[in-house]
């Protein structure tokens, strides 16, 4: 098992290196002369060249990459000329908001989707199951921005229950405590995730229900509640661990959309703004961060599965 985890860790590192290289390369092909973007259209070519030379942008791509990676190893993500501060500080300013939004939605959606999916599996094809399935299917088939728009349209504009904009607080503590202001973005993210997870949980629950060990558990005379709690729940939830790990890119994408829609501070909004500003150091850093988050998420899911599943843990 240890050997497996070590191998898993090493491949993750390789993948992260690959991500770094591809992101870096892509941005360089797209924006070979950042000086122009920084100094603006009216700057002279000489000034642009001087800027590029001074910042090292005239060196071969691989030299730049190595330098970039070297800096990265020291936690230095570069400088954002547009914001006139380091990318690190930009990220540190904005990350907590995003982490709170996605963290709380992820937690809520797991807490809702797992019991919901099991309930649907147990009561399969009942009216309740079919209604939930229909609702989940609709949410699942909806672009996240439209789901958010619907919620704003009804809950904010028509009924004035919640504001249509997230908390504008730049400090994280007031942001977290602004529950009412952040209700709609969190609801949007949670609904999307619940739709996907509960569908999966339902089918995973159905698979588990068809297993012989459920029949044996019933043959022991256990109550149905105990059969579900002790025998179904854990076995049906195991595949969810992997799914949650895999859904991290979607969560990041969701942040991007939701933060834009609700004008909430965070990395997604930062990305869109800096992309418009052609602030490529920030854009690379954020994309890289997303990739690393995905890899780390998958790695954590694998480790969690290893711990949770005795078949992998003791082999």
């Amino acid at each position: 098992m240890t050997a497996y985890l070590i191998r898993r860790f090493v491949t993750s590192l390789i993948v992260i290196l690959g991500i770094a290289f591809i992101t870096f390369l892509a941005v360089h092909i797209i924006a070979p002369s950042p000086g122009r973007a920084v100094l603006g259209d009216r700057a002279s070519q000489a000034a642009v060249n001087a800027f590029n030379k001074q910042a090292g942008y005239d060196q071969p791509v691989w030299v730049q990459f190595l330098k970039y990676m070297w800096a990265l190893l020291h936690g230095n993500l570069g400088f954002s000329y547009k914001s006139n501060q380091t990318v690190d500080s930009l990220i540190i300013e904005n990350a907590p908001h995003s982490m709170w939004l996605s963290g709380i939605s992820l937690l809520l959606s797991i807490l809702i989707a797992i019991p919901l999916g099991i309930f649907q599996a147990v009561k399969r094809n009942s009216v309740a199951d079919q209604s939930i399935t229909a609702f989940a299917f609709t949410c699942y088939s909806m672009p996240q921005n439209f789901l958010g728009l619907l919620l704003i349209g009804f809950l904010a504009i028509s009924f004035h229950l919640f504001p249509s904009e997230a908390s504008q607080s730049e400090k994280i503590i007031p942001y977290i405590t602004a529950v009412r202001a952040n209700f709609l973005p969190i609801l949007t993210l949670t609904l999307t995730a619940v739709a996907a997870y509960s569908r999966y949980m339902r089918s995973s629950g159905l698979d588990a229900l068809a297993q012989d060990y459920i029949r044996l558990a019933r043959a022991k005379g256990l109550s149905e509640a105990r059969v579900l709690r002790r025998h179904l729940f854990r076995n049906a939830s195991l595949p969810m661990i992997t799914l949650i790990g895999l859904s991290i890119p979607a969560l990041l994408g969701g942040n991007l959309v939701v933060e834009n829609l609700f004008n909430s501070h965070g990395l997604g909004l930062l990305f869109i703004n800096e992309l418009g500003n052609e602030d490529f150091n920030t854009v690379i850093a954020l994309t890289l961060l997303g990739g690393v988050a995905t890899v780390v998420g998958n790695l954590i899911a694998d480790v969690a599965l290893t711990v949770a599943d005795p078949r992998i843990r003791i082999s």
């Binding site: 090493v10 012989d212 044996l216 043959a219 022991k220 005379g221 256990l222 599943d309 005795p310 082999s315």
Partner: protein, 720 residues
Amino acid sequence: MPPVLDIDHLSTHIQLRKSVVQAVGDISLTIEPGETLGLVGESGCGKSMTGLSIMRLLPNGGHIVEGSITVDGVDVVKLSEREMRDVRGNDVAMIFQDSLTSLNPTMTIGKQIAEQVRRHRSVTRKVATERAAEVLGIVGFPRPRERLANYPHQLSGGQRQRVMIAIALSCDPKLLIADEPTTALDVTIQAQILGLLDDLKERLGMAVLLVTHDMGVVAGRADRVNVMYAGRMVETAPTKELFARMHHPYTQALLGSIPLLTQERHERLFSIPGIPPDLTEPPKGCRFAPRCTRATDQCREVEPALEPASTDHWFSCWHPVDGPIARVVVASPTAADANGSGTGVTATSVGGGAAPAPLAPAAIVPERQWEAGADDANLLMIDQVVREYPVTAGILQRRVASVKAVSDVSFTVGRAETFGLVGESGCGKTTLGKVIVGLEKADSGNVTLRGTDITKLGERELRRFRRDLQMMFQDPIASLDPRMRVGAVLREPMQVQGIGTHKQQEEVIAELLSEVGLPMNAVERFPHEFSGGQRQRIGLARALTLNPQVIVADEPVSALDVSIRSQVLNLMKRLQQTHGLTYVVISHDLAVVKYLSDRIGVMYLGKLVEMGSGDDIYHHAVHHYTAGLIATVPEPDPSRERAKSEIGIRGELPSPVDPPSGCRFRTRCPAAQDVCAEVEPPLRLFHPGHYAACHVPLQEPMPEDGNEPAVSAVSAPSGL
């Protein structure tokens, strides 16, 4: 004493989306305290549904339509679900076929046992755990306390089945329902588990309902036997009475279609034509009538009731039979027989006049000359074949060990001969079969067909030789492409080999279908539209398309029901005669192998431990493994089964990654000595054509004349 279980006119239906399966129709049975009742029948006959009805654990859509099920004086059909839960696991316990899927993979076995104890006895967790350890000890786990923390995947199949039994008896049930308890297990383990069940029944005074398809299992273990067919109880009698004087033609036919170890192997097996009826629309009259040789219009119109022949022997038939079908049984061995049986047996001596004239094989496939002569005895030579699979581990996935699937196996098969390979699962017989047909490369050693070593051939040359080496697969469903019509399936070999025009191929297909007994319209059908037996016929037809010389049949009938099995076995024999085929039959079922084969090789953990004619093996086994294997095969004969005292082979198969030194069987051998661990026993000659590798053989070997051992096994023209 009142019966433990009294089922009265039970009917159970299963509601499907568009139809209703009448799974159990109007059956009655009783079990007395301490009695074992065998409930036998083929798949789909309703025997498992009867067991699940008692537990009220029917699958979705299943419901008891009418009748009563009285367990210890209480009609469980009338109980509320809450009351029923007090019965399950407490008064009645059940064990299922597949122990791997029946145990919760994420819960320790200790907890899985203890939770049932705590459910039915108001005891503390500690006491329940004590009880779990106690029952684990009862079912034969040494040091049970240490096992409590194990998860199911850490145990072998036999051990898991023991755990399931431990769960079942943890609350001292009055009745134990065992639903195919040993079907998924190897014969040696099966014997151990059945012995354990018997022993527990004696010690704990339980009644047992033994649900199985295997007549051999009930013969030895059941006090009475109920035979089910298509949802109906067709006959019930004390075990000996049923086997000796059955009255229902189905019982008679079922027993008659099982190949016996004692059987004269050139006799055609009795076979029941057709397949059981569809229970969504059961036939009006007797449900067996469409397949019954004695059926009359009365049978087709009016269903017979269960009538008593004597107080404890009941049957339902208008035209009862009396006793089993006569069949030729080889007399118990004598010296003369032993000397005579090794020679002079060829397929052409099979007879009874039933064999149709050899059909002209497919016209366009060039028939190879039967160049009679020296070649015949050594048509196929397997010489010192070794096949190992690497086991990798560690961070760099380095090869740390290997699974010794086939270790230095040699034998020769002559033309039109059948060579049987028998052994437990994991003994390497399937791998060896794949090496023979070239699906796997041997690590070393040769496979020689008509003097050409096919292991040395390139892919292009090998392709021509593949015509002569075909394979029949165990699972007739998996071996047919679900997206190909049968016509395309049978055409494929000719297309691959580039033989014949489209029209000629069509003729061959028509001929093949008639040969394997399928109608012409089968060409247009997809594999899933056929029954299991029909699919196996298609598989056989496909293997025959290229007019091969050798067919390797890997468990050809294991996936089939008993009555269908004999149809396919008969067909294989008939085709062997008409085509002069050479078979290598691979099976775990010694009776099947013995029935089909001229000579038999017994494999254990990658080694060929004994080889000889069927009678050599059966009557004069030399190797302790062979003898143990024979002792464990359940025979459908109560007197023989009951005479068996010891449980064949103890212990379980060691890991093929790290096989025991010296003789690989020594860890389970009753006669093992120091030399067995140190020196690997060579194959020695015990009788012309009869070899075995054992230091302490059950018989004296023939005197060695110098250069006898292993290599000579290859060239010995035994059997012909």
